[in-house]
């Protein structure tokens, strides 16, 4: 595995980190690199030696790390790819920036250079090309609607919600009579509610929705699926 062109994904991370630190501080010390990647100093020294052997950096102990022209070029490619992937995950797939960042890192590490370079081209095209505008608009609209927690096994029907518990409405069943009326009073997907108690004798229940209490029948509440808040 002494292929000069291929460096291990962990070395890529080092190269990327060095490039970023240099960009920000003008120079990179071993200590800064260790802090940034949350690793111990000896590991950094090890990695720097490996990078040095591959001619990507100039490294002498006790002086700042400098990128060779080859190293700078390599770092730029890595950083560009990461940026494209991150933007793809956050702007096209509508993931929050933390999730997008970690997904970008993981993908870089998991798939090989060959697949990655092609994937980056695709991501770039979707994100930037004019003839993809309709596609972008479609995704823009669709992605946020995809329930983040697809684990519907956690959902329970509203009539099963323990007293005093808060929950978020996940689905309002189609077979509920007068869905519209419930919707008009605020019982729509995403509404936060709290089960306050039951009426004497009957099946009426009291649920706090927005500023006030609503009462509805437990037989109707069966069709409203909620996720209990911890």
């Amino acid at each position: 595995m002494s292929d000069n062109d291929l460096i291990s994904s962990s070395l890529e991370d080092y190269l990327e980190a060095i490039a970023e630190i240099i960009e920000r501080n003008g120079h990179a010390h071993t200590k800064d690199i260790a802090d940034r990647l949350h690793v111990k100093m000896p590991s950094v020294t090890n990695a720097l030696q490996a990078l040095s052997v591959r001619g990507l950096i100039n490294y002498q102990s006790h002086s700042p790390v400098v990128l060779t022209s080859l190293g700078a070029e390599k770092a730029a490619v890595i950083r560009h790819r990461h940026a494209v992937l991150k933007r793809f995950f956050s702007e096209i797939l509508k993931l929050d920036s933390e999730t997008a960042d970690s997904a970008a890192c993981r993908i870089e590490h998991l798939i090989g250079e060959t697949v990655l370079s092609r994937f980056v081209v695709l991501a770039e095209a979707i994100g930037e090309r004019d003839d993809c505008r309709e596609l972008r608009r479609y995704l823009e609209e669709t992605m946020p609607k995809i329930a983040t927690s697809d684990d519907s096994s956690e959902w329970i029907s509203l009539d099963k919600l323990p007293k005093g518990k808060s929950a978020v409405v996940m689905r309002v069943g189609e077979n509920l009579r007068g869905v519209k009326k419930f919707a008009d009073l605020g019982l729509v997907t995403g509404t936060l509610l709290e089960f306050e108690g039951r009426a004497p004798l009957g099946d009426l229940m009291r649920v706090k929705v927005m500023g006030s209490s609503l009462s509805l029948r437990a037989s109707d509440a069966r069709y409203i699926l909620v996720k209990v808040m911890s």
């Binding site: 608009r137 479609y138 823009e140 609209e141 669709t142 609607k145 995809i146 329930a147 309002v172 189609e174 509920l176 009579r177 007068g178 869905v179 519209k180 009326k181 419930f182 919707a183 008009d184 009073l185 605020g186 019982l187 729509v188 997907t189 995403g190 509404t191 306050e196 108690g197 039951r198 009426a199 004497p200 004798l201 009957g202 099946d203 009426l204 009291r206 706090k208 929705v209 927005m210 500023g211 006030s212 209490s213 609503l214 009462s215 509805l216 029948r217 109707d220």
Partner: protein, 721 residues
């Protein structure tokens, strides 16, 4: 249309129930209000007028609604008024403490493209609850000016008036910002708007085509049923399908989801919550009042207090009114030229003053009852009462809101029927109206009070009385169940009810509400009762008998001229003669003859012609049964000499018959005042007729069974010791 050209500037007050809309209306108009009904529905239509400088303003208080879809009579009425009413400005009243839900209506009102003012009401309440609201942000967001008010204290009303004046004089007032519903949906709206444009009826031109497009996309029943849009149902359905599959949401709640999304965004930006104290107080009260175990007892105590308030406090003014009418009758009697137009004298005194007065004396009860109801409604307790009672009422196919009117039926059916207006479901409301008169009302009490002591020993009296009330309740609930499973059958409508936070209602609003009900009672019931009283008087009087079995006038004259008798002795001897004469007159009259005809079928339930004839009187007012029976038993003043009448009755009837008389009086045709109010509240002669026939059938059947079974088993033949 140019606002300056018109004589009045028309404003509509729109808002959710419990947002304080009516308080604002009262503040704006003072007492210059007009209350009526929307044609065909029992939704009150309130209008009022006021002036700001040189501007005459007409304001319409729309019914409180959560949405402008047309799923309830209130929503349909509000919608029609806004679309066809030539409204120049909408005042959208918003409960500041509950902006998120209240603004849902705002997003729909904005679509109407009429100038709009956002009236953030009850800001004191919101502040107390720790809400800091950036009104400027809301104003910018909805494209409508904001006025802050505290309706109950009248704060901000001057600002509101100035704002109205400014908008009325603005040649191009600001139009609200139309909400965006996301790219795909907006695309659908645009496409449908283009299709709607050429189909619009000229009278709807004031409302933008876009509004109708949205309603079509929402699958609103009222708009989708309009003939002109028939060709658009298919495309609207297709668009819904597309949007639903893309966004994975229910097509019915499509727009609601978007609107709440829009509002949630606006509220997040404009409202800061620092603490939430007031709400907690409301929650604490609710934890007790709607508790599974405490809820019912607390409710019953509240109802008991309400009755106490109504009937104990009402007794005094009732007595005053009675004295007043007696005085009035005496006055007319004294001023009337002796012997002239005798018929008209009796018509005025017995027919008009007696009949109308007999109804008017219930006015204090009605005022107090409605005052109590207005108070309980104003505080928000009524919604809790319905919540608490729902389980029990549901057993009979009704829901919680039917309970209070039925309970009021123990007092008087007239206000009870009027109180059914709070029931939203039309089927439930009609069912409740139809069964209410079975509840044993206060006017039946004199009948029991006369008969029970005459036929039942003291130790049975309370039990018999209780049985009468109990039978009334059982029959009412039984008939409700029957009606709900036959005539008013159908899937139960969805029941969602808001339990608004507790509030202290203003004294002014309670008084106004009470007064409105009282006026309605006087106007409508009053005219009918007047007519009925005259008719009853006539059939009780004509034809006049001229020859008697004895020559009463001569005998009376003889006694009057008998100088050997003292004044006291004279009147003691004249009284039975007068009584006997009146009895013969009544027997000869139309009422007596009808009684004799009625007695033929009524024999099977144990009645003779006298009871049958007295039942005619009971139709005018239940307590007249006693008076009429008194006349027929030749007793001058039946109520004053109850014991004499009781002796007479005991000689004539068995306890079984007596029980049957009470049973029949309880269940038979309601009184004229009730019939009048039922006719008005149901808006249907057919249903009123059904009630009359139904009650007769129920009364006859039950009494028949009781009488025949009792007779076969030999029950109640003798006085129960």
């Amino acid at each position: 249309m140019d606002a300056a050209m018109k004589t009045t500037f028309r404003i509509a007050l729109a808002g959710n129930p419990n947002c304080g809309k009516t308080t604002i209306f009262n503040q704006l108009t003072g007492t210059r209000q007009h209350v009526g009904n929307y044609p065909g529905v029992t939704v009150e239509r309130k209008t009022g007028g006021f002036r700001i400088h040189d501007l005459a303003v007409e304001v319409i208080d729309l019914p409180g609604v959560y949405s402008l879809s047309s799923t309830s009579p209130e929503e349909r009425v509000a919608f029609r008024e806004l679309v066809d009413g030539g409204i120049d400005l909408i005042l959208n009243v918003i409960d500041s403490g509950n902006a998120q839900r209240n603004l849902y209506l705002t997003t729909q009102l904005a679509e109407l493209d009429l100038p709009m003012v956002l009236v953030f009401n009850m800001i004191d309440d919101a502040k107390e609850r720790g809400l800091e609201i950036d009104f400027e942000k809301f104003s910018a967001f909805f494209g409508a000016p904001v006025v802050q008010t505290v309706g109950s204290a009248g704060n901000g009303m001057d600002d509101l008036r100035e704002m109205i004046y400014r908008i009325a004089n603005d040649p191009a007032p600001r139009r609200p910002v139309k909400p965006k519903y996301g790219p795909k949906t907006d695309q659908a709206i645009r496409a449908l708007t283009e299709a709607v444009e050429p189909l619009l009826r000229p009278e709807n031109r004031r409302i933008p085509a876009r509004y109708f497009a949205i309603k079509l996309l929402e699958n609103d029943p009222e708009i989708c049923n309009r003939a002109e849009f028939a060709s658009l149902l298919q495309p609207a359905e297709e668009w819904r399908g597309k949007i639903t599959t893309r966004n994975g949401i229910n097509s019915e709640t499509l727009m609601a989801d978007y609107r709440y999304g829009v509002i949630a965004g606006a509220c997040r930006e404009a409202i800061q919550i620092s603490h939430d104290r007031r709400r907690q107080l409301s929650d604490v009260i609710d934890r007790v009042v709607t508790n599974r175990f405490l809820g019912l007892p607390i409710f019953l105590v509240m109802m008991y207090l309400m009755f106490l308030f109504t009937f104990v406090l009402g007794e005094y003014p009732m007595m005053w009114l009675e004295t007043l009418f007696e005085g009035l009758a005496d006055l007319v009697n004294a001023l009337w030229p002796t012997g002239q137009a005798e018929f008209f004298r009796r018509l005025v005194i017995e027919g008009i003053i007696g009949g109308v007065g007999g109804v008017l004396i219930f006015l204090p009860n009605i005022l107090l009852l409605f005052m109590a109801i207005a108070f309980l409604e104003g505080t928000g307790y009524m919604a809790r009462a319905a919540f608490v009672m729902d389980g029990f009422m549901h057993l009979f196919g009704l829901h919680g809101k039917s309970f209070i009117p039925m309970l009021l039926g123990f007092g008087c059916s007239v206000p009870a029927v009027m109180a059914t207006r709070t029931i939203e479901s039309e089927r439930d409301r009609l069912t409740t109206i139809l069964v209410i008169p079975f509840m044993s009302c206060g006017a039946r009490l004199p009948i029991y009070a006369m008969i029970i002591p005459a036929f039942f020993a003291l130790r049975y009296q309370a039990a018999v009385m209780f049985i009468m009330y109990f039978i009334g309740v059982v029959v009412a609930l039984g008939c409700a169940l029957l009606l709900k499973s036959t005539l008013f059958k159908g899937d139960g409508e969805v029941f969602v009810m808001e339990l608004p936070p507790y509030r202290m209602p203003t004294f002014q609003s309670i008084l106004i509400q009470m007064w409105e009900r009282a006026v309605m009672y006087l106007q409508k019931a009053g005219t009918l009762i007047l007519t009925a009283s005259v008719i009853l008087f006539v059939i009780n009087t004509f034809p006049v008998r001229t020859s008697f079995t004895q020559d009463y006038p001569a005998q009376i004259a003889a006694i009057e001229h008998d100088q050997t008798l003292s004044e006291e002795e004279r009147s003691r001897e004249i009284a039975p003669l007068r009584g006997a004469m009146r009895a013969e007159l009544l027997e000869y009259s139309l009422a007596g003859r009808i009684g004799k005809v009625l007695a033929i079928p009524l024999q099977a339930v144990g009645f003779d012609w006298r009871v049958s004839s007295a039942l005619i009187g009971a139709t005018a007012a239940k307590e007249l049964f006693v008076a009429q029976l008194g006349v027929l038993f030749s007793i001058e003043d039946a109520e004053a000499s109850a014991s004499t009448l009781q002796q007479q009755l005991r000689r004539s009837y068995t306890p079984l018959q007596a029980f049957c008389i009470m049973l029949f009086c309880l269940l038979t045709i309601p009184c004229i005042a009730t019939i009048a109010v039922v006719r008005r509240e149901t808006g249907s002669w057919a249903l009123t007729g059904l009630q009359i026939v139904g009650f007769t059938v129920v009364a006859y059947t039950l009494t028949f069974v009781v009488f025949q079974v009792g007779r076969l088993l030999g029950i109640g033949v003798e006085f129960l010791q």
